[in-house]
Amino acid sequence: MGAVLENGLDLAIRQVGSIILGKERAIRLALTCLLARGHLLIEDLPGMGKTTLAHALAHSLGLHYQRIQFTSDLLPADILGAAVYERQRETFVFHPGPIFAQLILADEINRATPKTQSALLEAMEEGQVTIEGETRPLPEPFFVIATQNPAYQIGTFPLPESQLDRFLMRIELGYPDVQAERALLEGEDRRDLLARLPVAMAPEQLHEAQARVSSIHVAPPLLDYVQALLTFSRQSNRFRSGLSPRAGLGLLRAARAWALLHHRGHVLPEDVQTVLSAVVSHRLHPAEDSLEQSAADLVERLLTAVTLPA
């Protein structure tokens, strides 16, 4: 069963990789995020393949997929759904919104008003939706991939820090390299490819994989290391504020999922280091007098400053 599971995951990575070329690391991180039951924020310019990634992932894993295009006039009800009066039955019938899907692409989340944003984020956090006094559970698994254009674009509402914390990871896709770009230009239309994509694993298998994450072994020396990272972020004067306990839990969870994705039953320091940037870069902010001003530099600083005892 373990091998089947791992094969399924590998296959999914390969399949998505055949569509999003040269972005294996981003794909793996996205899958890690899904296995860790977190949510993913992709921050990049339009046209970098954010949508395609989400779509391919949903396809490959056989997940029910919904895309919500966020606009400035989008209302919470447009996401969550609403009770509509049905004349024949003379009752209010709940019409679920697009959020009742397994994989949701919240496209350009920073174009919507804070009120709409928070409706989505609350649903993400709680895994359920309460409308007019009635609580409805969201499907399992429930995975949100939100995309966001870089904040300096006009007419956007950047997510506040407290909201950013709800995302387990934030990644960037970036431009493809020369070879990947060439293959992309020479290849077929991505949408046609996507349509032909077979399902790599059953939903139960994905569920099982998610359950397996918490059984990945974490040794005391590794916990020491994670704690050293957290402590450093809190004590160093480079950061405006340290990493929260939620960030610490998320880091460990993501590292476990990454280890699982790499067929390992235990977490290595390298796993922590690999997911570190994605997990903490949107949670760390430079102090005003810090030498490192970009998020990447801050993470690099954290990584090199903390010694990993042999």
């Binding site: 072994h217 040794a219 020396p221 590794l222 039953g265 235990h266 977490v267 290595l268 320091p269 390298e270 280091q273 990584l303 090199t304 903390v306 010694t307 990993l308 042999a310």
Partner: protein, 666 residues
């Protein structure tokens, strides 16, 4: 009887101890170290022994390399007995320094022929240390000491290799280790050197022949003794003045004073030394200086005229000669004070008689000459002038190679050959004075010396050996008269080389003012090193030790205090080292320990693990830069990561990791 049988049976049943055989590589190191330990003495040993030693070394090496078998017992026995007999025949004894060292060398060689096991190797290492130390019985020169240090390091390396021959040490690892051990031993060495209580006199007796073969002044003077000595440029002593170096005509280093003349030979007639300085009336200021005397195997200490101080354990004769209780067999440093201008007291009747005594017969012409001088009723001063006038105005030559003299040596010299060295002039002068009724005596010692401009001290060599005269004058006491100065004034001012015309026989360093000046300068700077070595290492005796320690602010300190201080310092050092080790003690986790070992090996090859680098990331980086190591590095790192971060640790896997790390060669 039953008991006996039982014992025998027990003995038979006891299993043989597993003997570890010496590997060829360890044996090669040992042979190399032994060879180097024997090299300094090789030319001094009997030629057959040197050849035997070399031959056995090569033979044993071939046995190890070619896998031949060791010689049979009987052959070994024959070689040993023959070597023993050879030493006996050559030296007539097995004891004493020379025979002892020869015997040690021969037996070391024989031991090599039965060396098979690790235990034999250890025995040989200690024989090797003994061999190294035996070299110090002959010389303690700085270059030799440095060389012997290197040999000790090598011997230690061989010892390390013998004990760890299966540890798979890399080629230079034993040297590296022994160097490290030697460095760690330096503080202990310094503490022991500085604080180990120095006891006046030798702590244990060395064989009688340990000090033979020193050149130097002798107790008696015949024509030729001083001139022979002048052909050596060995250093007699060095002097450091507490002020400017006085002019050459004050640099008369007083040695044995000779009273008795038998017509040919002058011998000393000094009375017993007293342990207080002989009083005299100083005029003018004193000279303060310290003398660093080379070993002479004599009890004489040299001082400028006239000494007013006694070094410890030293007495002074009535002729102002300093005598130590023990012969000077080590570099010996002492403080002195002298007054170059002085008046001595009256002459007691016994001394006067001795100072006028001449052989009953012989040298009639000299006696006739003095009788002639005395007819004018001349005063003693006028008689001295007459004698000096004779040397100055007649055709006297100053030469290292005077012709042989007949039985009336003084007559022969004064009226026939007229060629002589300082002993001829001093001897003839004193003879003339005594014949003329002026009390006189011969003084031997050294005159002058060479200033070392680098270290600002004076070097007195054997070639500065000199003989002069003293005459006793009413009212002034003993007055120094140097007849050589009348013949060759520049002998006194500029040294021997300037005064001689036949200088071929003078050794290079005695040719002061000659050519090859830059080479002399080089020799002088080297002499400065030697002098410091002498002053601070070889002459570090009881007096120097007290002086040094009180200079450090300890005040007067006796040997008991020193022992306590030494013990405390050694103990403190031990505690310090133990404390440091405790603080830096490695992790107890064998997994981490093995991995750290592995990392250290890679770090030595320039592949250090970064602070934050995880095991697998590090392995990949190493594999990228050293593809030849990729396999083993990946395997070790994978196993380590599993053991360190995985859920279960099995002893077998820990062992496997340890074995892999042990076999790992970067």
């Amino acid at each position: 009887m039953r008991l006996w049988n039982q014992k025998n049976r027990l003995k038979a049943e006891k299993p043989a101890l597993p003997l570890e055989v010496l590997e060829p590589i360890a044996l090669s190191w040992l042979l190399g170290a032994l060879l180097l330990a024997a090299v300094p003495r090789a030319s001094e040993l009997p030629i057959w022994l040197t050849l035997l030693f070399g031959a056995i070394l090569i033979w044993r090496w071939l046995i190890a390399m070619r896998g031949w078998s060791l010689p049979p017992r009987w052959l070994l026995l024959v070689v040993a007995v023959l070597a023993c007999a050879g030493v006996l025949i050559d030296y007539r004894t097995l004891f004493g320094r020379d025979a002892g060292v020869a015997f040690l060398s021969a037996m070391t060689a024989c031991k090599l022929l039965e060396t098979r096991t690790l235990r034999d190797g250890v025995v040989l290492v200690f024989l090797g240390y003994l061999l190294v130390m035996s070299n110090l019985l002959y010389s303690q020169e700085i270059l030799l000491v440095i060389y012997l240090f290197a040999v000790v390091l090598l011997m230690l390396a061989a010892q390390i290799l013998i004990h760890r021959q299966h540890a798979g040490l890399k080629a230079l690892a034993p040297i590296w280790l022994s160097g490290k051990m030697a460095l760690q031993a330096i503080p202990v060495m310094l503490i022991l050197f500085v604080l180990f209580p120095r006891i006046p006199g030798p702590l244990w007796g060395l064989p009688k022949d340990a000090y033979k073969g020193r050149t130097g002044l002798s107790e008696q003077m015949t024509p030729g003794t001083v001139s022979e000595l002048s052909k050596s440029d060995e250093v007699a002593f060095r002097v450091r003045f507490n002020g400017p170096i006085p002019p050459p005509n004050q640099l008369y280093w007083r040695g044995p004073v000779l009273w008795n003349f038998d017509g040919r030979r002058w011998t000393s007639g000094a009375g017993a030394p007293r342990n207080t300085p002989v009083p005299f009336t100083p005029e003018g200021t004193a000279l303060e200086y310290s003398v660093i005397l080379e070993p002479s195997n004599r009890i004489w200490l040299f001082a400028l005229d006239l000494p007013a101080l006694l070094p410890p354990q030293t007495g002074m004769t009535s002729s102002f000669q300093l005598l130590r209780q023990q012969p000077v067999n080590e570099v010996y440093r002492y403080q002195m004070r002298s007054y170059p201008n002085y008046r001595t007291g009256h002459l007691d009747p016994i001394e006067r008689t001795t100072a006028l005594r001449l052989p009953a017969r012989g040298n009639p012409r000299a006696r006739a000459l003095t009788a002639e001088w005395r007819q004018g009723g001349a005063r003693p001063e006028a008689l001295i002038d007459a004698a000096l006038f004779l040397f100055r105005e007649q055709a006297f030559y100053y030469t290292l190679n005077p012709p042989l003299l007949g039985s009336d040596s003084v007559d022969d010299f004064l009226f026939r050959t007229r060629r002589g060295f300082c002993e001829h002039y001093a001897s003839a002068f004193v003879f003339l004075m005594r014949a003329a009724g002026v009390p006189a005596r011969v003084v031997t010692g050294y005159q002058g010396g060479e200033r070392n401009t680098f270290g600002d001290y004076l070097i007195v060599r054997q070639s500065d050996a000199h003989a002069w005269a003293e005459a006793w004058l009413e009212g002034r006491g003993w007055v120094r008269v140097d007849p050589t100065g009348a013949v060759a004034p520049n002998r006194i001012q500029d040294g021997l080389y300037a005064a001689l015309s036949d200088t071929e026989e003078l050794p290079f360093l005695a040719r002061r003012g000659g050519d090859g000046e830059w080479l002399r300068q080089l020799a002088m700077s080297w002499d400065t090193v030697n002098n410091s070595w002498n002053e601070w290492v070889l002459a570090y005796g009881p007096d120097r030790q007290k002086e040094f320690l009180s200079g450090l602010g300890f005040g007067p300190i006796d040997w008991a205090d020193m022992t306590v201080a030494m013990t405390l310092m050694l103990g403190g050092f031990g505690l310090l080292v133990a404390g440091l080790r405790w603080r830096n003690r490695g992790p107890r986790d064998p997994v981490v320990k093995a991995y750290l070992h592995f990392c250290a090996r890679l770090a030595r090859r320039g592949l250090a693990r970064a602070n934050q680098e995880g095991p697998l990331a590090f392995a990949e980086r190493v594999a990228a830069s050293r593809p030849d190591l990729a396999g083993s590095v990946r395997e070790i790192s994978r196993l380590y990561a599993l053991l360190r971060y995985g859920p279960v640790v099995s002893t077998a896997e820990v062992r496997q990791l340890q074995a892999l790390v042990r076999q790992f060669r970067a």
